[in-house]
Amino acid sequence: MKPRDLSDLALRNLREAILRNSLTTLGIAVGVASLVAMLSLGVGLQQLASKRLSQSGLFDSVFVTPRVNLRGMGRAAMPPSLDKVPRLLDESARQEISRLPNVVEVYPQVRFFTEVRFDGKPFATMVAGMPASSKASGSFDGMQGSFFSGDAAYETILQSEFAKELNPQTSTLIGKDLVLRYAERQSIPPNPVDSKAASSSESLPGGFSVVPKEMRLRIVGVVDTEPASGFGGYGNGRLLIPLQVAMTLRAAQVNDLRDIVRGTSSTPTFASLTVRAKSPAYVEALEASIKNMGFGAFSLLDASKSLATFFRVLDMLLGIFSSLALFVATLGIVNTLVMAILERRREIGVLKALGASDRDVKQLFFFEAGVMGLFGGIFGLFLGWLIGRALNFGTNFYLHRRDLPSVDISSVPWWLVLFSIGFAVLVSLVAGLYPASRAARLNPVEALRYE
């Protein structure tokens, strides 16, 4: 029989016992729905965690520091492969690193102590320079006000705890100005050699003087979270300004003292650089390249891999438990089709008498099982998606009542759409194997005699 005739007959047969077939299909749909709901929850949670982590810049970033040989400070010597001549982490190093393949951006960590003057009162705090890319980090989602209008804008975003110190009604701060008082470093030329005191004939390097400076900044936003606090990032800053502005200030930083001692103070260096790769996949190679250049480099890639493994295991467990419902549904298909064989015994006999081959009969029952699986899969997918939406709604309702930002904990990606429908059809076909072969084996003479 041609496929179109086969489908015509199968659909007609399914319509004939519409109630029973619909209930069987509903059984499959419930199985698929539980599978989709569980997996969409797993996928959603994984995406949520991955999004937050990747937005934080921790997993697609390599953190670069000048290599410091700590021998003599109670530590073991570095392995020979790493024991290269330490290099300065300066602007030329930054340019060199930014030319490495798959690097999106390289920015320094600029963080310095400041005193803020607001309404005539002083407030001590830390300033952190924020790269323009940090806007997409997710840390500024739901902030009051807006992000910086530009890289060179004399604007600031306050961390909410600090903002409350300025004014408990933080929303009233937006649009107001504050004055930033900071220490600017100014270079001093090298000292001539004091031949009596010095042990070497080299001239001593120049240093720098520290000069108090002020600048006026407009408050454009207040953010609840402390963006990417901690690990190598731009954290711990409670007063955030555009990175480009922070760099032009030449504010004295912690590493400046080290530079004086090393005699490198004439060349401004960075305490650390953050190198963002195109994706976490490039981080490992990038880290190795930077180490080969003579810098210290590290990333959180291994933690990211462990996280992915955890979610794979979670998805697998959720999938197994929800597949149990689908397994019960397959028993429904077997039952429905076996009942159909009993009811349509005489019809099968007639079909065979008219020239239907065993294969035709088998295909007919197989097709019916497949159609039930297909419809059950599609309906189940829709049901599962609805359950996911309901979970999302409930979660966000709860979060909203606690003034927390909304999240998407359930996600149905394309692969899950195709997988769930394909799986439902496959399971239905497997369930149809026995009834179909039983129908095909039916003796036509006995079938025609059946009343």
Partner: protein, 233 residues
């Protein structure tokens, strides 16, 4: 009308069933030659083996021993797939209880063998109509079997059996569920169909007078054996 070539040749065929330890000889060593174009009536009491013999000729069953040669093809030797093709293309079957599919219209019932034979969709409607016209049911084409009388249902079953243009028409007690007048009209229709060149008809029946009137030859069975085989008149 009969020509010299044998449409069906039965060579010492037997069909035995085992029920527990008992062996039931439904057909026991039957040999028969049926020339092409002949109308044979198989007579006999209930359980005499005539329907079993008809099923063997129809390719619905296989003999325990012996050979069923239809249109030069030994049915006992062919695969089940070839046997299905034989049922589709060479024979048409009519049953006592009509066996029309109740949820289908007459058109769909008659179209069924064409679907199984993978006839192109465009050709089917004309062939179905022609077949129904032949049995005088073209006006009932959209009706379901339950909306027809017994005689009309049997005519529809004949139309279905003929739609693929078989060379052999097998009828298992086609008048068994009909009143005598309607039964007679069905046999007249079969006789009319026999006029097709090379159309061979085998009919199982209890009704000897009708068989004598319409068939060319009578074969009488008893206890699975062929008791007699001769001209009807």
């Amino acid at each position: 009308m009969p020509d010299d070539q044998a449409a069906i040749r039965l060579e010492h065929i037997s069909r035995h069933y085992t029920m527990g330890e008992a062996v039931i000889r439904a057909v026991d060593d039957v040999s028969l030659d049926l020339p092409s174009g002949e109308f044979l009536a198989l007579l006999g009491s209930s359980g005499s083996g005539k329907s079993t013999l008809l099923n063997l000729i129809a390719g619905l069953d296989r003999p325990t021993s012996g050979a069923v040669i239809a249109q030069g093809q030994d049915l006992s030797q062919v695969s089940s797939l070839e046997l299905a093709r034989y049922r589709r293309q060479t024979v048409g079957m009519v049953f006592q209880s009509f066996n029309l599919l109740p949820r289908m219209t007459l058109e769909e019932n008659v179209e069924l063998p064409l679907r199984l034979a993978e006839v192109e969709r465009g050709d089917r409607a004309a062939r179905v109509r022609k077949s129904l016209e032949r049995v005088g049911l073209e006006k009932r084409i959209g009706h379901r079997p339950s909306e027809l009388s017994g005689g009309e249902q049997q005519r529809a079953a004949i139309a279905r059996a003929l739609v693929n243009g078989p060379k052999i028409l097998l009828a298992d007690e086609p008048t068994g569920n009909l009143d005598s007048a309607t039964g007679e009209s069905i046999l007249a229709l079969l006789k009319e169909i026999q006029k097709n060149p090379g159309m061979t008809i085998i009919m199982v029946t209890h009704e000897r007078p009708l068989a004598e009137r319409f068939a060319d030859r009578l074969a009488i069975m008893g206890d699975g054996k062929l008791l007699s085989n001769g001209a009807a008149r």
